[in-house]
Amino acid sequence: MRSVRRILAVACLLAAVLGLLAGCHGRQEQAAFSVPEEFDESRSYEITFWAKNDTNKSQTDIYKKAIEDFQALYPNITVTLRLYTNYGDIYNDVITNISTQTTPNVCITYPDHIATYLTGDNVVVPLDELMADERYGLGGSEVRFDAPSQEEIVPQFLEECRLGGHYYALPYMRSTEACYVNKTYVEALGYELPEVLTWDFVWEVSRAAAEQNADGTYVLNGQQVMIPFLYKSTDNMMIQMLKQKDAGYSTQTGVIQLFNDTTTQLLKTIGENTASGAFSTFKISGYPANFLNAGQCVFAVDSTAGSTWMGSDAPLMDIAEEEIAQFETAVLPVPQFDPDTPQMISQGPSVCIFNKEDPQEVLASWLFTQYLLTNEVQIAYSQTEGYVPVTTKAQESPEYQDYLSRAGEDNDTYYEVKLQAVQLLLDHMDDTFITPVFNGSASLRDAAGQLIEGVTKAVRRGQTVDDAFLETLYSDTQALYHLDSISPSGGEADLGPLPGTAVALLVGLAVAWILILGYLALQWRQGRKKRAHLHKNG
């Protein structure tokens, strides 16, 4: 009886240790998702879909229609749409809702953001098993619509959704950045537009465009305002410049390399051109499209997904009609250091699924996610802006090919600038890249943009941008974005040696187990000897 009590005591102690260890792993932990054998259609499901639109009613309408069509196929699933107009707000709301386990079911997102969501256990559903499931997977036998197979998703777009060896999202739309050029102005300045812009060309033409008359008006446009080169997303600007220079940004595992000599040189060049009136940013001055369309900008860099705002005949416009200038718009890749090997960012929304206690609810979410990749949704949504569908199934469809062939037929669906932007990405799919994704990569991206914003503001405020200034800017930026606290990590990477405390813990536990087992073995041997002795003497 004493031995039973002893075993129970040891078991209880072990259970307590394991319980504590498990508890430490996170109070919000949910069970890992596994694909149910059967989708239970006798039940009703209500799923929420947090989506981003580019403040574009057509996109909202397509989301609504997609939900309506999906619900017609699955009457037991109700999808509630919540709309956002920027990724940052979605990210902040998801972070807030993870702690209360009130995340949406399906969510438009960026892989950078998923890396942060993954710091919680089983928060985001890995999609590998779902994608491969014969019945409910991509193009599965039980799926009630014409879904793409995994092979029909553009491989590099799908790969962008792979974190730590698992797929945590499906791509939804893809875009890149384009330089929208007032070709009329470039030629008026005596330059010929090359097929691929170089940074040197853009800076030179921009400085020429910044020339002013004695009365303060600009020679080129006769107006009081001219920002020759205006960049919307300065984080992309820095990231692409560094990539083109083959300079450091970060490693795949999250070692920060942003603050390097190449960055310093780039920032000094940006500072010099800001001082000459050649350059500004969206955060400092306003939307590039507004300046371009008013004849107050020569080179406007923005997403291809902003192409419907660009040009004299743009279908979307924020400035008054009397302010619109008439000019020829050229759509070119972002400026390059080596025009023979252009490199540009791949961006655009992806879709992830948040884990729930009920695997059936997750399966319902998956079915809806998969529906967003059908040709109906992909082609319709891609036509709202300069997006490219993420499936070859959609890209190669006769309907989409017909769309591409009709550039310029009108200033709406077939708006020429938009279709040129789409073609730009289609022609340069192999020239696109993404940045490494890790917990903290979203902050690093912000920091990269902040360096350009900081230098540009400082120059405009009459400050000197020298090594001392940049040193301070680097340390301030590192502190602001907590870059010092980013721990390198990532799937298959070498994580380095274990910390001393962890080694001590493991050694302690091993020693305890050895002693426990040794003690039990000793007891067992003594018992056998005793029984043998009794038997012998019995």
Partner: protein, 271 residues
């Protein structure tokens, strides 16, 4: 032996707890830090106003308006309305007897934000800038100045709509009288609607409201900015209840975005 075992196991428990505590803290802070950083992006520029208020020359409104863009400025004005606070940044409308200021993303703790009730006098140091036509102070710091309070009376600018003089009252609390509500757009069925969620109707309840009003033969777009007046406010609900053809009086702040774009804070249906 048993004592030794118990001791080792207890040690294991303590070590496990310590190890877990460390790792858990780390992941939580990583998440919150990322969130924090993404939301506070445009502040550090290596040249930020340091908040030091010694030896500063407080500008009059006239001096402020005469200052070059990107110049460092220091002004004193009275809070009229708070638009938003997020991650230690506040956006505020302020005004004195001579003119008004839009103070965008001032460094501000939640505690200080709570103190910014209408009428409170603050001294702000920041940089004068212009964003899509809106002249504002950014990258600012502030301190509360004890003493007088001032709540502006709205200025009726109805007769100035469409004139070049209107911009001289940018950011002020203003009144518009006798505006006729006209269609802001169409719904899915093609019917005229008196307001839209977002400028093109792409939003949902909780987003900014846009509605059009006419005075004479001119039509203007007014906005209920959802950070300044969210969907729980009277003005938000009043705009949602508007009907085409109604005549209204409206009050708000004279914000600018590529032209006049008042941020309306109250409306009254007069007929």
């Amino acid at each position: 032996m048993k004592k030794l075992l118990s001791l080792l196991l207890a040690l294991g428990v303590v070590c496990s707890l310590a190890g877990c505590a460390g790792s858990n803290d780390g992941s939580q802070s990583d998440a919150s830090q990322s969130s924090s950083a993404s939301a506070s992006g445009s502040q550090t520029d290596g040249s930020q106003a340091d908040g030091s208020q010694t030896d500063v020359q407080v500008m009059s409104y006239e001096e402020y308006m005469a200052a070059e863009l990107d110049a460092q400025v220091t002004i004193e004005a009275y809070v009229q309305a708070k638009q938003s606070w997020w991650e230690d940044k506040a956006t505020v409308y302020a005004q004195d007897e001579d003119g008004a200021y839009f103070l965008y993303n001032m460094v501000c703790s939640q505690e200080d934000y709570d103190k910014l009730v209408p009428g409170t006098c603050i001294r702000v140091t920041g940089y004068k800038t212009e964003w899509s036509g809106e002249v504002e102070i950014i990258d600012g710091t502030f301190e509360i100045v004890e003493g007088d309070t001032f709540v502006a009376e709205p200025l009726d600018v109805t007769s100035l709509l469409g004139t070049e003089e209107l911009i001289n009252h940018q950011n002020q609390l203003v009144d518009f009288k006798g505006l006729t509500v006209v269609a802001a757009g169409q719904d899915d069925a093609g019917n005229d609607v008196p307001f839209l969620y977002n400028w093109d109707g792409s939003g949902t309840q909780g987003d900014d409201l846009y509605f059009n009003v006419s005075v004479g033969d001119q039509t203007y777009t007014f906005t209920v900015e959802s950070y300044l007046c969210d969907s729980s406010t009277e003005v938000y609900k009043a705009v949602e209840a508007l009907e085409i053809g109604q005549v209204i009086d409206a009050q708000g702040f004279l914000y600018w975005y590529e032209g006049v774009n008042p941020h309306i804070t109250s409306i009254t249906v007069v007929e």
